[in-house]
C-alpha cells in the first residue's frame, strides 16, 4: 500500500517541483504553500556517474555526478555485497549475502534486481553462495548480452555461480579451480589463475569447458593484482604486477598476452624489484588502477616503498599512455588514496577516495583536483560505458 501511495505522490510532485523552480527566481517567493511529499526517480545509468561504495562494514553505494560532485542517489548495496549495472541500463544488480537475523539465523545468497529509474526492488534470485569479502572488483559480472550474471564463489574452493537473468533463476555452478576474477566474453568468461595462466571457460555448449593459457606471470615471485581492468567491448584487459610490470592482453577463448613493460622504466626510473631494502616507486592500493579505454591511458596509484607494500595507499597518480608505453604525467596526492576509477566519456574524470571515506574528483583535461567530498564512501568505485 505504501508503494501505491508513493506512486500517487510522484504524479503530484511534478506540479510542485515546477512551482518551486519558478519561485526560486524571485526573492520574496520563498515557497510557503503546503507541499505533498513525493519520491524522486533517477535518470538511467550515466557514463558521467561514479558509483562509490561505503567503507568495509558499511552499506550503500552513493552515485555521484562527476559534473557537479553531488550525490544523485544510492543503490541498496548491503555490506560485502557486489554491484553490477545491466549493459542495457535498465537494472542494477546486487549480489549479496544476508543472514535472517543480522549476524545469525539463515544465510541467504541473493541476486537482488533494482529498477534503474525507480531504484525499487524488482525481485530477488536465490543462488548457492558467493565469496564474502570487503567489496572488491571483478567478483561479479554481467555477460555482454545482459542475459547472465556471474558470481564468484569461494568455499574456499573456487567456482562461479551463474544466474539466468532472462528467467531470473539460478542456472548452474561451474568450478574454477585455482582461479579468481571474472571477465565475461561472448562464449563465457575468463579468469586469472594461481599458476600464472588465464583460464577460459566456454559456457556456450551444454558442458562447461575450461582451457588454460600458457602462464605469463609467477604468483610466487611477482603476482598480478586481482583488481585488474577489463573492457567487455574491447575484449582486452590490463594487468599490473606487484613490482610494476604492465601486461596488456586480448581476452577470449584463446587469450593473448603481450610482453610486459615496467611502469617505473616507462617513467625513466629503474624497474621495481622484489628484494628487501630495494626502495622504489611501487603500485599499491585496493582498486589501484583505472583504465580509460578510448584513449588507452592507465591511471595507477603509486607509493614509495619496498616489495610487500602492495596494499599501501597511493601517494601519486601515474598516467601511463599504454600505446606509447610512457608515463606522461605524475600527479602528487595530499591525501593517501586507496581506490581510483575513471569515467569512460571523451572528457574523462577520475574519482579517488581514502580510507576515511573522503573522495575527490580529478578533471583530467586540466589535472585539477576538486574539493574534498566528505562521507562519500571509502570502498570501490564503478563507472559505466556509454549505453
Amino acid at each position: 500500500m505504501s508503494r501505491h501511495t508513493s506512486q500517487a505522490f510522484t504524479l503530484r510532485a511534478a506540479a510542485v517541483l515546477i512551482g518551486t523552480v519558478l519561485a526560486s527566481g524571485a526573492q520574496a517567493a520563498v515557497p510557503t504553500e503546503p507541499e505533498t511529499p513525493n519520491v524522486a526517480t533517477l535518470a538511467s545509468p550515466n557514463p558521467g556517474w561514479f558509483y562509490v561504495r561505503g567503507g568495509f562494514d558499511t552499506a550503500g553505494t552513493q552515485i555521484v555526478d562527476s559534473a557537479t560532485g553531488k550525490m544523485v542517489g544510492m543503490v541498496d548495496t548491503s555490506r560485502t555485497s557486489d554491484m553490477a549495472v545491466d549493459p542495457a541500463g535498465k537494472f542494477y544488480y546486487v549480489s549479496e549475502t544476508i543472514w535472517s537475523k543480522g549476524n545469525r539465523g539463515t544465510r541467504q545468497d541473493l541476486l537482488s534486481i533494482y529498477d534503474a529509474n525507480s531504484l525499487k526492488l524488482q525481485t530477488e534470485v536465490s543462488f548457492p553462495g558467493r565469496l564474502i569479502i570487503g567489496a572488491q572488483v571483478n567478483n561479479f559480472a554481467i555477460s555482454p548480452d545482459g542475459k547472465s550474471a556471474y558470481i564468484f564463489n569461494l568455499t574456499p574452493a573456487a567456482s562461479v555461480n551463474i544466474v539466468d537473468l532472462g528467467k531470473r533463476k539460478f542456472a548452474r555452478n561451474v568450478e574454477l579451480p585455482g582461479c579468481a576474477g571474472l571477465m565475461p566474453i561472448a562464449e563465457g568468461l575468463v579468469s586469472v589463475c594461481s599458476d600464472g595462466s588465464l583460464a577460459s571457460l566456454n559456457l556456450s555448449g551444454g558442458k562447461a569447458e575450461i582451457t588454460r593459457s600458457v602462464p605469463f606471470f609467477s604468483a610466487t615471485n611477482d603476482p598480478v593484482f586481482d583488481a585488474y581492468n577489463y573492457s567487455v567491448r574491447r575484449k582486452e584487459a590490463v594487468f599490473l604486477s606487484y613490482t610494476g610490470l604492465i601486461y596488456m592482453a586480448k581476452i577470449g577463448l584463446k587469450p593473448e598476452v603481450a610482453a610486459p613493460f615496467s611502469i617505473q622504466a616507462a617513467a625513466g626510473l629503474r624497474p621495481g624489484d622484489t628484494k628487501p631494502l630495494d626502495v622504489n616507486w611501487l603500485p599499491g592500493g585496493r582498486q589501484l588502477t583505472a583504465w580509460h579505454h578510448a584513449s588507452n591511458h592507465l591511471y595507477v596509484l603509486m607509493h614509495i616503498g619496498e616489495f610487500w607494500t602492495q596494499k599501501d595507499p597511493g601517494e601519486e597518480i601515474w598516467d601511463v599512455d599504454l600505446s606509447a608505453k610512457k608515463v606522461v604525467k605524475r600527479f602528487p596526492l595530499e591525501d593517501h588514496i586507496d581506490n581510483i576509477e575513471v569515467t569512460q566519456g571523451d572528457k574523462p574524470k577520475l574519482f579517488v577516495n581514502t580510507g576515511k571515506n573522503d573522495g575527490y574528483i580529478l578533471d583530467l583535461a586540466t589535472w585539477t583536483l576538486g574539493p574534498k567530498i566528505g562521507a562519500i564512501g571509502g570502498g570501490i568505485i564503478a563507472t559505466v560505458e556509454a549505453p
Binding site: 505504501s2 504553500e33 507541499e35 519520491v39 524522486a40 533517477l42 542517489g73 544510492m74 562521507a375
Partner: protein, 180 residues
C-alpha cells in the same frame, strides 16, 4: 473531532500525522494518547499571531537569527530549524522529496520555523525517507523547540519510519505544512 483539543496547531499536527493515508488505526491510537495526556500549546511562536509578525532579535531563536532562504542543502536553511539527520536535498532527493527508491514516512515529527523573509512562523513536517542504507551527506542536528521523547511529535531522535516497509533510516525532508 471532539476527541481533539481545539487548538488549531495541534489539529493540523494530527492531520499531518494521518498523512493523507488511510492509517486510521494509527490515528485513532495516537489521538487517544494525546487526549489522555493534555495537549499543550505547541510552542510560544504559535501564539505570536500571524497578523503582526515580530521580527525583533528578541523574538527569534539563535537558529532563526542566522537562517537563510537560498540553499536547502545547508543545515542553516530556515525550514531545518528542528531537523536531525541527513538532508534528503543532498542525497538525490529534495526538500520535500525522498531520494529514488526510498519511502516517505506517512507520519513525522514537526517543527515551527520562522521564515526570515516574512517574519512569520510555519509548521514543517520532517518526514523521514526510509528503507535504504543511511545517507551520510549533510548531517544536521537542529534543535528549535525539540522536545524529549515523552512529547514524541516534537522529538527528532526517533526514527520516524512508522508504517513503511522497513524502518531503516535514509534521510529527512522538511515538508511545508502551512502557517503555524
Amino acid at each position: 473531532m471532539k476527541l481533539f483539543n481545539p487548538d488549531a496547531a495541534a489539529e493540523k499536527l494530527l492531520r499531518r500525522f494521518a498523512g493523507g493515508t488511510s492509517r486510521r488505526g494509527m490515528l485513532a491510537r495516537l489521538g487517544g494518547a494525546l487526549v489522555a495526556a493534555p495537549v499543550f500549546p505547541l510552542l510560544p511562536v504559535s501564539r505570536a499571531g500571524a497578523a503582526k509578525p515580530d521580527r525583533s532579535p528578541e523574538a527569534k531563536t539563535a537558529f532563526a537569527r542566522k537562517a537563510q532562504t537560498v540553499d536547502d542543502t545547508k543545515c542553516d536553511y530556515w525550514r531545518y530549524c528542528a531537523i536531525d539527520g541527513a538532508l534528503c536535498s543532498c542525497c538525490g532527493g529534495g526538500i520535500h522529496t525522498c531520494p529514488p527508491g526510498a519511502e516517505s514516512s506517512p507520519v513525522s515529527w514537526v517543527g515551527t520555523c520562522m521564515n526570515p523573509e516574512d517574519g512569520k512562523a510555519y509548521m514543517i513536517a520532517y518526514r523521514d525517507c526510509c528503507g535504504k542504507p543511511m545517507c551520510t551527506q549533510c548531517m544536521c542536528d537542529n534543535q528549535d523547540r525539540e522536545t524529549p521523547l515523552y512529547v514524541p511529535q516534537l522529538n527528532n531522535n526517533i526514527i520516524w519510519c512508522f508504517g513503511t516497509q522497513s524502518m531503516e533510516y535514509h534521510c529527512s525532508t522538511a515538508v511545508m505544512v502551512g502557517p503555524a
